[in-house]
């Protein structure tokens, strides 16, 4: 780090911001960020009003999006909460795009704007650019273009096929968003022109494929294959939206394209859901570090720091389990604490740290940070780096809730016996695969009634929720024929079956 310089004249810190000041602060923050070696996309900082912030909220934070009633619902409830003073709006929204767009709200004071710039434009931005999940699954260069394409395409569909028709389809697709992501395959990169060009091609090609799938086979061959019990799909498919896009027999070409659009959007947001702790922690750590460095250089006034620290402290507060405002583990608090702790382990390792983290204790903290930021997601990050000291500091403990037992049991606490176990459970808690039911497309009755069988692999005997029947109606709407959901246990034994029958295959079922 730079030796502490002679105190320079601090930047002015009125509570009202101006464009000149934002620029000045940004210049200093950028300089320090570069000193720390943060690699970012170019920044684009946009000042918006509270109303525009609410707009952005309701279109899942994106600057453009297609239209749907659920976004309207989101907007109305945000607006209501905000107008009544029940909730504040976020200070910023940042978009994983290139250039990285950060929205700053007009209402923020100057210190808040500086905090937000450090947090979003350098913290989140460098995470978006570096983390392997974002690098693999999202395409920052193309997302805005893709959303423009999506919006235009959908409004075109609305004109041709009617708003209601499109809306019903979107409802079903939205319902399946969480099971519409590839967890293992890598999506191809696309640009707007390529996407438009390929869309027509794809439409025709897909339709021809589907027809091939359902072509009536000659009698003899049918018999032979009935014996062979050819399975379709050959391998279980975990991406339901992908499966419907490619194989649902009754969808029109435009409907397939809509399914695809929703699937792409779901895929784009998937990494964010997997890296909440890391990402927020990283951004929080960097706004804290960058602004403190500027303060050490004498560039920030004391009143600035007081306001900044006030907000920072609010963000990283972790209430205890027995307080009324406990809402689970605060990802900002956990993430910030972990990154701070990693740096501590690098710079001032204790004996315990050397035992637990021989490979990073005493290493260069910047390199360790970079490695950790690039190569982990929440689940693995916690499994790898949560230290006994931090578990003691946060006083973490685990509770086992087994519905066959009458009482809850404390299964591990922050002591020598429990460290590994607590860490394991916390890591598991961030595993999307176990947090949500694991559902795959299992089988299609090709020669019979064309019914579709989904298989739910029960995890720790957790059953499906109440919404499942309604969900099946959504699935049936896309598939067009009967749909069955089987729940099996670890041994593969069938536990329960739900079914949604489609009476007339020509008519898509109504979903309440």
């Amino acid at each position: 780090m730079v030796a502490k310089k002679r105190a320079r004249k601090p930047l002015p810190s009125p509570s009202e911001w101006t464009f000149e000041l934002i620029e000045e602060y940004h210049r200093e923050i950028a300089r320090v960020a570069a000193d720390y070696g943060l690699d970012t996309y170019p920044n684009q900082i946009e000042l918006i009003t509270a109303e525009q912030m609410m707009d952005a909220y309701s279109s899942v934070g994106m600057p453009v999006n297609y239209h749907h009633w659920s976004f309207g619902k989101q907007f109305i409830s945000t607006e209501k909460g905000y107008r009544r003073g029940q909730m504040g709006l976020a200070y910023e929204i940042v978009i994983n795009s290139n250039p990285c767009i950060a929205y700053l709200m007009e209402e923020n004071t100057m210190p808040m704007q500086a905090l937000v710039i450090a947090h979003a434009s350098y913290g989140h931005n460098s995470f978006f650019k570096g983390n392997y999940l974002f690098r693999t699954w999202t395409n920052a260069d193309a997302i805005i273009d893709y959303l423009i394409f999506a919006r235009n395409y959908l409004s075109h569909c609305e004109e041709r096929y009617g708003e209601e028709e499109v809306e019903l389809l979107l409802d079903s697709c939205h319902a399946l968003m969480s099971v519409g992501v590839d967890r293992y395959k890598r999506p191809p990169k696309l640009s707007l022109e390529k996407e438009q060009m390929r869309q027509k091609e794809r439409e025709e090609y897909l339709q021809s494929q589907v027809n091939a799938l359902w072509r009536t086979l000659p009698q003899i061959e049918a018999k032979a294959s009935a014996q062979a019990e050819r399975r379709f799909p050959a391998e279980p498919e975990e991406n339901l939206l992908y499966f419907f896009e490619k194989h649902a027999p009754l969808l029109e070409p435009w409907q397939r394209e809509v399914v695809r659009i929703v699937r792409k959007v779901a895929q784009y947001f998937f990494p964010q859901r997997q890296t909440q702790v890391m990402n927020e922690g990283w951004a929080t750590y960097w706004h804290y570090t960058l602004l403190n460095t500027l303060y050490d250089e004498g560039l920030l006034a004391d009143n600035f720091m007081i306001e900044f620290l006030h907000s920072h402290t609010n963000v990283v507060m972790q209430p205890a389990y027995n307080t009324p405002w406990y809402r689970g583990i605060n990802p900002y608090a956990l993430g910030f604490a972990m990154w701070t702790d990693i740096r501590r382990i690098c710079e001032h390792p204790t004996e315990e740290d050397k035992r637990w983290f021989p490979e990073i204790a005493g290493s260069n903290w910047r390199e360790t940070f970079d490695f950790a930021m690039r190569n982990f997601k929440d689940e693995s990050f916690i499994a790898q780096y949560l230290s006994p000291k931090l578990m003691r500091d946060l006083r973490l403990f685990a509770i086992m809730d087994d519905d066959r037992e009458s009482r809850l049991k404390v299964s591990a606490i922050h002591d020598d016996r429990g460290y590994a176990r607590v860490r394991e459970i916390l890591s598991e808690q961030y595993n999307l695969g176990s947090r949500e039911p694991y559902i795959q497309v299992w089988d299609v009755d090709l020669r019979g009634d064309r019914s579709l069988t989904l298989r739910h692999q029960a995890y720790k005997r957790r059953p499906m929720g109440d919404a499942s029947d309604e969900m099946l109606r959504h699935v049936a709407r896309l598939w067009g024929f009967n749909v069955r959901l089987e729940t099996v246990d670890d041994a593969g034994d069938l536990l329960s079956t739900r079914e949604c029958r489609v009476e007339r295959p020509q008519k898509l079922p109504q979903v309440a």
Binding site: N43, Q52, L394, I399, D401, K409, I413, I439, R461
Partner: protein, 422 residues
Amino acid sequence: MARIIDRRFDSKNKSAVNRQRFMRRFKGQIRRAVADAIDGRSIKDLDNGESVSIPSRDLSEPHFQHGSGGIWEQVFSGNDQFSTGDEIQRPMGGGGSGGQGKGASNEGESEDDFVFQLSREEFLDVFFEDLALPNLVKTQLAQIPEYKSQRAGYANDGVPTNLNLVRSMRGALGRRLALGAPYHGRIRELQAEIDELLKTRGPEDEEVKRLQHDIGVLRAKIEAIPFLDTFDLRYNNRVKIPQPSTRAVMFCLMDVSGSMDEEKKATAKRFFMLLYLFLTRTYEHIDVVFIRHHTVAKEVDEEDFFHSRESGGTVVSSALDLMRDVIQERYATGLWNIYGAQASDGDNWENDSPRCRELLAQSILPYMQYFAYIEITPGEPQNLWREYEKLQGTTANFAMQRIESYADIYPVFRELFKKTLV
């Protein structure tokens, strides 16, 4: 280097479309809410929005989720008393401790209804929709008042017809004086010099001639100052100010005999509301007089008018009598525009109906701008209808309509509306 962009003045209301989609999707609930609101409101209270509540389960966006049950093992923070192996009583009502409770969604699944506010426009839209108003009428009604142009000083530009001659000439005169002043001063000086010279020399003197020539040049310059410049022109300025014309009184007459049930009253209420709306667009001040009747008529307040129950026979003429008296007492001057609206199920005492017609034709209609009668009955026309039918066509300010649904209400006003349009 970052780009810093000011988006604050960019388009707002990006979510307007999404809001409309939302409204359309839940139209059923919204219409019900509006209908309830109308029943609960004063007929004068149409300029407010309404809050609509929709059960949150209707709005849910389902996902595949775990239900309660099975094994959940979770980490909490802030341990203050537990050690490994402790057993804890299961918290009440939290079977399975709800693994998806937190972090599963930011939607805030609350048990409460989803409540939101309809704006005035949205409220009226739904109201009009039930009444099947033509679009032109809708816009006309939803609009805030008409304008009247009024003088407001003078402006520097305008159309020739608005030219103000006096002002323009006064300006021109001032300008000519101001621009000519230095020349006049110089001329006076030169003249003084000439006068001085003439004392010693003759008029043929070179010097005198030169000075006289100079004076000539200056006079030419003064002549060259334009008599009237575009700069001088002043125009009468007019501004538009909202101008509701005058005062009106609206009589609401309703039969409250036993045969008028709540539903019929609700229909009548919409009829009165619509008339009121028409009138608010035209008049600044509106009095509403509520007269209800069975065998005797009584002037009441709005609450009583719609909600008290009476029973017994029906003598419609009693109400008309009372109306006539009220007009003569309070609204006799020409300052009032008088409108009447009568709602009934048409079931009148047989001998009374001819008297009603007479009363209307002779003592009431001559003073009225407009009188509308609706008969709310699903069956055959009743005796009052048959009597009133004779009036139709004899005067332009009388309209009648049989009503079975809300959509039948509007035609009553068609004539009326044509008049206000022009």
